[in-house]
Symmetry: D2
Subunit: 476 residues, 4 copies
């Protein structure tokens, strides 16, 4: 297994990364991007840390060790352990998931299942390719990003019906040894600091869209691949006022494929349009289980910060305060219980992979997503206006001001420093750019709220429900 | 074990029952009350029915058989089986729980736990008494009611501070062989058709309230005990228009104790005011697990009836319809998953009894209760105005009208009869007196919404939440 | 103007009314239907009552007096007075609108506007007919019902696409002196106790639907017209336990047109399919203003009953109680303020009729409808379980029981009688059949929630909103 | 009247302002603070701009002109004009209220009313002082800030019960010519760029708190007054990515009174503790009317931006999209209609001042505040993940990247530039620091959500509600 140091070293290749309009030649030393690199390195550091080692490291088939992320889940317990590992990384990451191995393995589980299905039905030979790539990632302990969402243009139209043929990534040429692809993906998380980029289709396709049915993996330094990293959240901030976002950050890129060549043994879908939807969904279902796991530290934090600031403000016994805290607790616990239930109710299908229960996963995700903004409102309500009017780090460090701040900003049984630290934490996670980031992720990451609803409807035990209604109504 | 027939026979004692202002001498033949008797007999009929026997009947310690309700839960699996039995009875009961053994065993589990605690701390000898009574109920397969809620008067004041000393049940005399109690309880379910009445305190008490700290069990035909059964829901209705409430009904009574004598070996709490709250709570926590189990057929029915009427109305593909159906599905499934989780996360404490996880139970109950009215609104929205304007049984049976109704009231791919039956089912469960009953039960039965919130707050892993907030805020 | 007595007399014609499968020969003496007749007579009694006379009666154009309902609204003040009259009738009606003149005049205002438009565009001569009929109703002070909603069959398909050609009312023949219509309408309120039945189309139509484009008015005793009155809410109930529904009731009918002949001068739309949607909508918009006016006593009652029962229960100072009461107050007041605003922001268009602001009307209606079930939940929460377990009238009148009830069912500073009366009022309006009726009406009457949303979207000042967004975004 | 230039000049006095730990000697040239100065100058620029002049300027009593803000409202029309002026300034201010005259005149109206009441009851002579100061502000067209919220310490305890006597501002000395005050206020908006600071108590007080009962006005450059301006929102941002917050900003300060002397003729409350609550409330009620007026551009923008981005994304016809847009429309319109109603239902009491209807104002405010986070969630849902992953200004201006962005980021019938501008606008107002600012202001500014609820309960027509309940229940 690689060390965090080796991981950082591995990012110093010729990758094409732009940030704030400029080419970045070494992401590990760039003043902003390095924050994201250091944050993501948690996925390696956990394996080196005695406190997390037994969770993060498991024996490798054939000998040696490997990251648990690469362990194919066979049982509910495997899924629970994977969930706990994801949660732990995110807790250490200050509510931001490291994601370097989480999302990639989600994709690789899905690719294996769909490759298996295609091979069986179509007589293709994808599974071998996927497994070879999977083994390579596992044995080299690689960091992986997944590019799925196309730029899409008019979302009401399919790939072939767009004003512009490149609004979805497509195969523009086939060569003896591989294919050439063109297009762009958006929201590609951790791409600038991964080793491998796994590319998946984003939706179900029709036959006319067959050139858009493509999945593959390429190293991030591949010729023709450009990453335009989002400047969202701006420059590095002070740790006093931004205790989380100053240290923890994930980046996304507009990921441009300018006639990129993909060798044949790295192509996992090529024109089989009937399987594009299945591949997209299978990945997303694994990934939503990752999502509900990595949301747990965030919802726990909201409950804890809400309780603590209520105490600091001296309002913890007021009826409405108790009511809001109870809401936050139920919000957090419901997510946790449903996440566990999704693992416990897993199904074992093809390839002996334990798949989390899709109905429960999506209900958990919808529960989280549809009420997140309300949770934020409650925490802001408990915290008070200082969230946006409190003094910052420079004020706190200024000798002429510190005595004033200490004198006037204490709370109930607590000094100004602890209270300000807590207020800044809440502000960071709810009102700053990081707060906005969490809010948008709640609504859109791992599929939209509407996509979750669709899955819930589709996976419901409707026959049982309708049979009960008919029986009680006396309908034959 | 008793048969349903034996159960009915056992109710023909001298019990004092009033209904609609009149003394009822045989509840099994009264035109209204017999509906409730027949309904509740399900708890006996399941044991006689091959389809449910393996669920309803288990070996008795010491040989023979007994109702599973009397099996002390030792494991999560025991709790899951108990939950399934409760759910099954309620499904057969058309969303109304039979309750003849459910609530009584909830009380007996709680009485054993608290008696054990009292005996250990105070040197009392309650556990033996409770167990003797428990064994009697079990071996004679008795039907049990539980009287807990006092009439209360001014709810903002304690028992001793009321304008009237009898607003809470109290001990008014002690004799050599027992005690005499006076007062009244309300909302006593299935009392008129039970064999034994178990009486519990309704709240925590202070030392001045010690005369109010009393728990015991008496046969329903005890001298001085009067049951004023609620006339709610009125006369018997036609099965066509009221498919559920015409056959399934539960009654509650105002339960008056007019200087009732209780023999000493049936007294389970006598003055130990410190344990009144604990006993009240321990019972309620078991009973809320019963509650979330028996709500499952109701929420499943709402989802199924919603889907089916949407199809019959030809609107099942509309966006807003899908949205409402998805809401109903998530509502139902979340309750089911949390109910299972409450069993799976049970704790084993004193007396080797498996106790459902209180936090999860209450979160599940609050989830159900706080959104039930919204669920009703969605189903009514899908069904349409015919819920309150459709023709009824007499119209349907009138030859001059039937052809008109058949001609005009069909739906999409369905004839008028099935559509009317379904509409009447939905009407029965959402707009009739039964609908109102379900709604009020959602809010108040097994403790109010506010009581559930209190328990959620009290049982939360707040230390863990706060520690996370402090850690991320950098507070020592 | 007619007296209430004259109104009752006028109903003794040969009308074809069925109730509970039987032909009813005199609706004014039928034990159930007479409740609805007596209730609706309020619209006449107000004019005879000195307390309401100035509100209910205005000078008639050309001399004499007339019901204010027939006054064409010319100003915001006219609309406010009309709204107050509707509210007053409903308050006297115990939350049930009398409706004998309300809905008919809504229809007649709409018919005039659309007739005017048709005459101008198509050269038809409908306005004269409508006005003649309007004058007749006004001068004879007639009671009017409106039949709009067709039985519809598959709601996802239009009239011409149904499995059955009569799922929407249609013209089946034209004669020299009029037309013949066939079909059935549902939810026709107050039809059995009105004098005239005004018939309107229920939706926009396409050219193939032209036979379905029909509007007219006929006396209720017209040959071929049958009213199958809904048995909903069942037999008459005791005034103690059902203080409102025992005295106030409205009926709806399945209204069957079995080749009914309509004389030409009573035909107001005949094949002009392009105007069916406009007529349906114009009526509904007037009628929704009526609706938000007649909902006011209901929402006020919920707030008042909530406050009073909280006091009686001794919980009025608890934080959560205050919160729920405040919610109920804001719910009631927002409806009232928006209703007034809808009048104040009226527009004056064709025929000098003041039309309430459609955007505001629909926002008010949606506000009411989408939160009504939550309002009920709050009131039930404040009231407690006695809503469904309290003793009833026969218990109260039984000398053996009265002392017990008086002894045990008092509240904080209030005796058992007042508390029981209030609980029964709340039960009547929230849990009984009347409660279900109010709930379904909230969702469906005067158009569904989805129809209200559609109107809100359609009437929004979207150009202004979008212009602001573009300006602030710097988009040319 | 002063020009914007004169206003800026007036800020160059010796005021003690700290920002990011450093003393700022000229707020008009400081790179960050000047943004707030320029923004607030809108209150002067409107008066100079022909488009707004008739709204912003009115004749001055005694001749000449004055800002309309200083016009005492006498009628509903005056309040509507004041509301429109506030809305217009905020629209020009990109959803941020200028506030330089809005809040100060709110305070001065309240001070006059309470001074009048005190003078009448206590024989004091405050009204003359207040009017003299009011006339001075009006005639010199001064910019005014209001310091109300104390730092508070333990919010569960009153001023006299704090661990620290200075947690509420108090009088520490009285001299022949005035008083000396000590303490600190927080959240003092526009203090660093106002001319006068008006100081009000923040809550009702008891007799032991009489030293805390103090109100007065002082110039911002008064000796001993220090403003520690909040660093929230950080450095200036690019106008492309932050179209609003790069140009519009308001600042708040921790406002420290270090034994500040206040001349007697500027003291408006001195020890009359019985009037502290009344003064606090009277100000807040005026100010909440200001608040609901200045929220209008924000809610309109959310509706407009939601509609436009839905079109750009090609999803505007989807059912769930229409549903969310309709929600946003109803949200915006309800606020607007209630705001108008609050003016139209004003009361005229003492001093002939028209006071907006407090019940309506608070219901409007609660409507806005309690659903704001949901509004944000809906807009984010419609916009998509590019809110936090889109390229920024530097990317857009980089020639190597522009073609890629133009190629890939267009939408339905719209180029990349307009779409990115709109996305950045939405991001600025919902996810950036400005978004967080709006969210916290929604919950806390002008009093908390709980304070609004309290006022709604207190001002409800409860007697009328309860009388209706009693009448319908038959309770004497």
């Amino acid at each position: 297994m690689r060390t965090a140091h080796e991981y950082r070293e591995s990012l110093r290749d010729g990758r094409t990364v732009y940030y704030e309009g400029q080419r970045v030649h070494d992401v590990t030393t760039h003043p902003i991007l390095r924050i994201a690199v250091d944050h993501a390195a948690l996925d390696y550091e956990m394996a080196e840390d005695g406190r997390y080692r037994s969770l993060a490291v498991v024996p490798r088939p054939g000998g040696g060790e490997m990251s648990r992320f690469f362990a194919m889940p066979r049982t509910a317990e495997d899924l629970l352990a994977r969930s706990e590992l994801i949660e732990t990384g995110t807790r250490l990451g200050g509510t931001v998931v490291p994601l370097l191995k989480e999302i990639g393995t989600d994709a690789l589980f899905a690719l294996q299942l769909v490759a298996h299905e295609m091979d069986g039905t179509l007589g293709t030979h994808y599974l071998g390719r996927v497994r070879e790539f999977f083994t390579r990632c596992r044995d080299h302990d690689l960091a992986m990003a997944v590019a799925q969402t196309d730029v899409k243009g008019d979302r009401g139209a399919g790939p072939s019906d767009q004003a512009h043929p490149d609004y979805y990534l497509r195969i523009v040429d086939e060569r003896a040894d591989g294919i050439v692809v063109r297009g762009a993906k958006v929201h590609t998380s951790v791409s600038m600091n991964a080793n491998e980029l796994i590319v998946l289709p984003t939706r179900a396709l029709g036959e006319p869209d067959n050139a858009y049915a493509v999945a593959f993996a390429i190293p991030v330094d591949t010729q023709g691949l450009s990453l335009v990293v989002s400047p969202y959240a701006g420059p590095a901030a002070s740790p006093f006022a931004y205790p989380l976002s100053s240290r923890h950050r994930m980046t996304e890129s507009l990921t441009v494929f300018d006639d990129v060549f993909v060798p044949r043994d790295r192509v996992f879908l090529q024109g089989e349009w009937q399987y594009a939807g299945s591949l997209a969904r299978t990945f997303v279902e694994f990934h939503r289980f990752t999502a509900i796991s990595y949301k747990l530290p965030l919802v726990d934090l909201l409950a804890g910060a809400g309780q603590l600031i209520a105490q600091y403000n001296g309002i913890e016994r007021a009826g409405h305060v108790r009511d809001k805290l109870t809401w936050l607790i139920a919000y957090a616990q419901t997510l946790r219980k449903l996440t566990r239930m999704a693992a416990l109710d897993c199904s074992r299908g093809a390839l002996d992979i334990a798949v989390p229960d899709a109905a429960t996963v999506n209900i958990a995700k919808l529960h989280f997503a549809s009420q997140f903004h309300q949770a934020i409102a409650h925490v802001q309500d408990l915290a008070g206006g200082l969230l946006v009017t409190a003094p910052g780090q420079a004020d706190w460090q200024e000798p002429a001001l510190r005595p004033l701040l200490e004198r006037y900003l204490g709370g109930k049984g607590v000094g100004a420093e602890a209270r300000l630290r807590l207020l800044h934490l809440i502000s960071d996670v709810t009102t700053s750019a990081m707060g906005g980031y969490h809010a948008v992720l709640a609504v859109h990451a791992e599929g939209s709220i509407e996509a979750e609803k669709l899955t819930i409807y589709r996976t419901a035990p409707m026959d049982r429900y309708v049979a009960l209604a008919k029986e009680l109504a006396g309908i034959a």
